[in-house]
Amino acid sequence: MTNYRLTKEGEEYRKNGLPEKNLFELLQKDQLSVNNIQKKMKHADIALLWLKKKKIIQEKNGEIFLVSKKMEFPEQDALEKISKGETVNPDILEVLFQRKLVQRIYEEVEKLSKQLEKKKVSELTPIMLKTGLWKKAKLAPININVAPQKIVSVGKSHPYRQVIDDIRKKLIGLGFVEARGPLVEMNFWNFDALFMPSDHPARGIHDVLNVKNSQDGKVLDKQLWGRVEATHENGWITGSRGWGSWDFSFAKKLLLRSQGTALSARTLSKLKKEDIPHKMFMIDRVFRSDVIDAKHLAEFDQCEGIVVGEGLNLKNLLGYLKEIVIAVTGAEKVRFKPSYFPFTEPSVEGLAYHPELGWVEIGGSGIFRPEVTLPLGIEVPVLAWGLGIGRLAMIKLGVNDIRYLYSDNLKWLREKSLVK
């Protein structure tokens, strides 16, 4: 490492060229009067001085012209090298030193050292750290009430995402495997496979959003469709009375998935004996024919899951529901009450105790009806549960308008503190 560094002037010449080099280049094009030279460039006097010293210009009738068309300026290279900390020819260095284009670093250090003794400084600088001079430095105290520097672009995850991710991790921790299914769904998976009759009110145009495409969905597993048909018609081997009818063409129609349970049906249909016991969950979008307001959305996320295993019973259902509600809400007390879902029997609603809101309905659950599981090829009990994560997120975010969960309000997103 060299002990030299460029002075301010040296740095200027390094960047813009030595004045004599610049003048030499001007004169290569044409001869010029001194007046003209002064108009055309900075540091004209210095340039003239050095070119004269090198004896390559002459003056005739007030005009300056070059004696030789060729000239080298090794000093220019040297400036570049010094700025990069490289070594240079000592003769040239001496010239640069005389021209005050370089200075010895220790001179600067001495200067700084004197300064530091005299007065307080406001900033800690790299040179202080490099030279150890920070030991002498007296850093002036700062008013801690100074306005904070504004950080406009803070990268953050969406508050609702923080809630969702938290729930995901807890469910994975409880042994559930995450799953995902199509947003456009067949009536078959959304309703028929869940033993909801063709004329069930929840299948009406006031509840679900149907797809306006000419094509119906594809029947992939004809045998499964046959079992579901028989179950609706007369109960098949499930021990049920059945609904007495089934509408095949309706089952093929497409809609926007209206309940996550469609994915539970899909999951069960693919489950092999060796996959049991199995626990699955999903957090994903569903769609409803609702007018959007503070309490309703036409598109929202559902969190649902199933537990498939030999010998599972109602007490186990309560056990899982309690565990899940406690894990997800942090509530200490959980209570159960009767409920109704078209595809579970018995059905149970879970309530969590919230210190300010009292008992809050937080999750629905039940044991899938045999009319659901047997046609899907599952002979063991299946516990099913779902959480109202929209409601839960609203409580956690302290908002009373569900639209915040999908907010386009950038200011709110930026200012909202992290979710606990």
């Binding site: 672009s153 947003l183 456009v184 594809k218 049920s240 497409l254 036409a298 007490k315 009319e371 997103l413």
Partner: protein, 544 residues
């Protein structure tokens, strides 16, 4: 789910015991309905659709009485046979009918109100807005037999309820409020369904009754007609109505339907028996129960039963049409036992939890973009063609369209995400720039080979909006992004009208297009009323 308000004075009288507010709330929610609110005079319940027998105050009172084991003198419903016959013609537009006479009614205001209430709820629920089931209630003493049910021409005449003058059925459909509401259920048929007596039409189901047979406080005997498309459903509705009235001490009278050569007795109040497997019941609830326990629990839910070895024969009352399978009875046993009396128990089922690989990738994407200073947003998958295409300066393409949209803002599913982010920029113009935002979310594309003829795909999209945003900045983000995921890529010039010509690129990896980025076209910015330059990028997550 129907929200129903019950008169508490009437309810207490029918239960035969005064219950405090808390006790009432508790017993009702143990049976099933959810309590919405309660005042001194009324209780409002959310009744689940599987229990239409609880839609009326009488049925609710019966359930409470059973649950609390309150004895009452009406152990069986009073009923007799009448000689009355109804001649039934074939009426294809409304093929099924059921009817009953109910005698000795005492129609106070409360009773009339509750009768009208339950009719309305039954119409809305199991009646599917009168399409599947429609109910008419008449003053029986105003009807002069013989009674018939048949299809008649639309020029036939009647005086509809709440009118003074004679009208043709066609005029009823055109001019009466009920005609306008329900006429479409029958208007396609050539012959329209009516009940007639010696004086002419007295009921025009599913539209309206006649003024002549109007039910008033003075009415002593009722004639109830139920018509519809589903025999089980009309019987269920009629059974609920007549057994409810029987709870008030009224007498049900059977009558005969003459269907050509066949005849049928209506109402059909026959009890059915379902066999419940004793060990299955215990296994499913997870407790062992003595025979006595089971019989008592069943009784408290309104069932009588006999136990034969491993079989429990359970008698289903005629108003409980929701029992399809023994599990429906088992649920009631569990409710009678009390869910909060069961000990929650986690079984020893060892499984490993696992996140979806796709979601793990999405988490990494979010971390990376947040690290680069981007704010995450979450948007709807539903959109509309104006935002998806027109405002983006691109031509309309085939997307998943919604047949019955609720709002013109949400008529299709998005096939790309940039419009969602442009929308956010457009409503946040007053917020400090730079606005660097992103979303990881789903789009849905048409894909005819798939089971659902569509494909739901995960994408990541970001926009960089500030006075100096440009191609190079977007490229910087994309390059950092892809390098961090270890993806080698090349670029191709991309000509698309949403970008400035010559300032957009396609991202190619493994010979596949995995995304694009560029400077958004000023026309697009103008369409969204955005006043700073915007650079954007959008990639398929499944390819990362």
């Amino acid at each position: 789910m129907p929200l129903i308000t019950y008169n508490k004075k009437d309810l207490q009288k029918l239960v035969g015991k005064k219950l405090g507010n808390e006790q009432l709330e508790e017993v009702v929610s143990l049976i099933k309905p959810g309590v919405e609110e309660q005042t001194d005079s009324e209780i409002k319940l959310e009744v689940t659709p599987d229990r239409p027998d609880l839609f009326g105050v009488e049925g609710l009172a019966r359930a409470i009485r059973n649950y609390l084991e309150i004895k009452n003198n009406l152990q069986k419903f009073l009923s007799t046979n009448s000689t009355l016959e109804i001649k039934v013609d074939s009426v294809p537009i409304r093929p099924f009918i059921a009817a009953a006479i109910v005698r000795n009614v005492s129609l106070t205001d409360d009773v009339i109100k509750s009768l009208m209430n339950i009719q309305e709820v039954l119409h809305a629920t199991i009646g599917r807005n009168r399409r599947k089931v429609a109910i008419g209630v008449h003053d029986f003493d105003k009807i002069i037999p013989p009674i018939s049910y048949s299809g008649v021409s639309r020029d036939s005449k009647m005086i509809p309820l709440d009118f003074e003058n004679v009208m043709t059925l066609r005029e009823v459909l055109e001019n009466s409020p009920k005609g306008k509401m329900y006429g479409n259920l029958i208007s396609s048929a050539k012959l329209w369904p009516v009940f007639e007596d010696a004086q002419g039409i007295f009921s025009f189901p599913p539209v309206i009754n006649s003024e002549r047979t109007r039910v008033t406080e003075k009415t002593k005997n009722l004639f109830i007609d139920v018509t519809g498309l589903d025999k089980a459903a009309i019987n269920q509705a009629l059974n609920i109505l007549v057994t409810n009235l029987a709870e008030r001490g009224c007498k049900i009278e059977y009558l005969k339907l003459k269907l050509g050569k066949k005849s049928e007795i209506t109402p059909n109040l026959q009890e059915t028996v379902i066999e419940v497997d004793y060990p299955y019941l215990e296994k499913m609830i997870g407790v062992s129960l003595s025979k006595k326990d089971i019989i008592q629990l069943l009784q408290r839910m309104g069932y009588s039963s006999v136990i034969n070895g491993e079989k429990i024969e359970v008698v289903i009352p005629p108003y409980r049409a929701d029992i399809l399978h023994q599990v429906d009875v088992i649920e009631d046993v569990a409710y009678a036992y009390g869910l909060n009396n069961l000990t929650p128990q986690l079984p020893n089922v060892a499984t490993y939890g696992k996140a979806l690989e796709l979601e793990r990738t999405c988490e990494k994407i979010r971390h990376l973009l947040i690290g680069m200073g981007f704010q995450e947003t979450i948007n709807f998958v539903m959109s509309n063609p104006l935002e998806q295409f027109d405002k983006m300066n691109v031509s309309r393409e085939k997307v998943v369209e919604i047949q019955n949209p609720v709002s013109e803002n949400y008529t299709c599913l998005r096939s790309w995400m940039l419009p969602s982010l442009m929308k956010i920029l457009s409503v946040n113009k007053h917020v400090a720039y730079p606005q660097n935002i992103f979303e990881v979310g789903d789009v849905v594309l048409i894909s005819p080979e798939e089971e659902t003829r569509t494909k739901s795909l995960r994408k990541v999209c970001g926009v960089i909006a500030h006075s100096k945003s440009n191609f190079a900045e977007a490229k910087g983000v994309v390059d950092t992004f892809l390098k961090n995921f270890g993806i080698n890529y090349s670029l191709q010039p991309y000509q698309e009208n949403c970008y400035i010509n010559g300032r957009a690129a396609r991202i190619i990896s493994n010979k596949k297009i995995i995304g694009s980025f560029g400077e958004v076209h000023p026309q697009v910015l103008e369409n969204w009323e955005i006043e700073v330059p915007v650079a954007s990028f959008e990639l398929f997550v499944e390819d990362i």
